[in-house]
Symmetry: C2
Subunit: 328 residues, 2 copies
């Protein structure tokens, strides 16, 4: 059984999950061509836990949601802490699901039809609404690891949803930062950023009626992209269904530009959203962060929380918008 | 000229350093066997900036300190912020030095003679004392990236020293966490941890009169090691010279155990210490963190500040102490 332990200085949580060490890794094994049966391909549904949700398609389904076979968190136990001498631990209570975005093994998200990307976005919102019915669940993280350098272990296009019994440290830090900004200026920092970026223009990489994609001013990673909804909304799962297509459009455009300019693209995609049991708030605005992984995070970053970026975001936007290839 | 930018939500600093993108990378180029002239080998001193400090040896020197040829921060400019619309930036003022630990290219730190490891430790303290004479410098980070997976770009054994004009976020978070613990219990969290680990025993991997090496209770990374001084001291650079040999002994023992159990070892080593212009404090106690990099940090960790570790620290200590090889 996995267990969660708390760092006594930082208040940072760590999931101790020995079982996850057993999961297959296509990249580590025989490289990306490893000829083993992919659990996410059509016809191999028996290799995963049962389907939790799916959308019909010509292979029987066009999108499937299943529980993660090697979960970091499991839907059992109590959200209460236990003392172990100086330290605190708790049950690794939560939910860990996988969204298989397409039955096609080699077709990345940005190459799927627009409607399929809309389906992925709508499914994310639907699953969060389902999961948050359990009052023990305080936060739900939606994320995607694409490619070896981004920590993916399987090649087949998929995203993950992890629900947990507390708001994690980075989420509370982000909420605190946004609340401090709101207290000082009376406005939402994300609304202000959207306005500033639309007027500055040089960091915009995609835009439509409802969304904006920019290379953020203080990007930690080269070619990092931030997707901002133009309308203020705290919870991602409250996305109006009519806006799913617009979000899918900006998402596809942004990832496509990364795929053109960056060879062998690896990235992490993270949906930043309000903890699920909290109310809509004037200071916090959901958004998506896409961080390509060209280099490794090293000691300096880990020791300071300071980042070194070798490509200014204005240059990154110019490269992405021109369709030029970037030579690492 | 590099520039520092501040994230408007997290308060996180990012160094924009285009020049660092030009530095050579032995690992990326033709692999570790790349036959180019190593700038850190004896005889190639003309390939680095001038020597700032050295200790004599049979090759002319046995340890050398030079400025980093591709610095993240440079000793020029002002520590004052500038407004850019919504955002804040400042000059990338600071110091970036490299400590070449040995003239021998292929001899890692843990295989050097005890006195050579003591020399490295004493040199770290000496350089910090020199650098902190500049009152614009608020924090000095000493770190080491060893191996490709830890973000090293050169194979030759070396460490780095980066001095900066502010205490970075992770350092202030650590100080705040330690201060909160001290306020609640009246004791130093690191002193308490040392006592708890010595009594629990199962996470101890090395110990001598003055230092203790343990696999910490809430390790973020598998086989992570924490080196704690037994005596309370806030500033690493105040290490009594008589204790350098004891620190070197525990450091060598800890890294040697990692090298035996983990094939193709990559790790980051970070000295956590008090910002240099601050006074000794009862709540903060310097320490060293060694984090082997067996897997990559992926979207979940980046999105939450939550970590997933597949090897419990008690198991990690047992493997390291038995000399068993760990199969990833």
């Amino acid at each position: 059984m996995p267990e969660i332990r708390k760092d006594p200085v930082f208040g940072r949580w760590v999931i101790m999950a020995s079982e996850r060490g057993l999961r297959p890794n296509e990249f580590l094994a025989a490289g990306e061509e490893a000829g083993y049966a992919c659990p996410f391909c059509a016809g191999n549904e028996n290799l995963t836990p049962p389907t939790l949700y799916s959308l019909p398609g010509k292979d029987g389904w066009r999108l499937r949601v299943v529980s993660n076979k090697y979960p970091a968190l499991v839907p059992a136990g109590s959200p209460d802490g236990r003392r172990e001498g100086l330290y605190t631990s708790m049950d690794a209570l939560g939910v860990h699901e996988v969204v298989v975005e397409t039955p096609e093994h080699g077709r990345p998200l940005e190459e799927l039809p627009d409607e399929a990307v809309s389906d992925v976005v709508k499914t994310f919102a639907l699953r969060v609404k389902e999961i948050k019915k359990d009052p023990r669940i305080k936060h739900v993280l939606i994320f995607k690891n694409h490619g070896r350098n981004a920590g993916a272990s399987l090649l087949h296009p998929h995203s993950q949803i992890i629900a947990m019994p507390m708001a994690p440290l980075r989420v509370t830090q982000e909420l605190d930062g946004a609340a401090a900004y709101h207290k000082e200026r009376g406005t939402c920092v994300y609304c202000d950023m959207a306005a500033e970026e639309l007027s500055f223009k040089k960091r915009v990489v995609a835009e439509n009626s409802a969304f904006l994609a920019v290379t953020p001013y203080a990007s930690c990673f080269s070619f990092e992209i931030l997707i901002l909804p133009k309308k203020h909304l705290s919870h991602f799962e409250d996305l109006p269904e009519a806006e799913a297509a617009a979000l899918a459009g900006v998402l596809k455009a942004a990832i496509s530009k990364l795929a053109v300019s960056l060879p062998d693209l690896s990235y992490n995609l993270i949906v930043h959203t309000m903890p699920v049991q909290e109310a809509e708030a004037p200071h916090y605005h959901w958004h998506i962060e896409i961080t390509p992984k060209l280099t490794r995070v090293a000691g300096f970053e880990w020791g300071t929380g300071f980042y070194i970026n070798t490509v200014k975001p204005e240059e990154a936007a110019e490269i992405l918008n021109s369709g030029k290839k970037y030579k690492i």
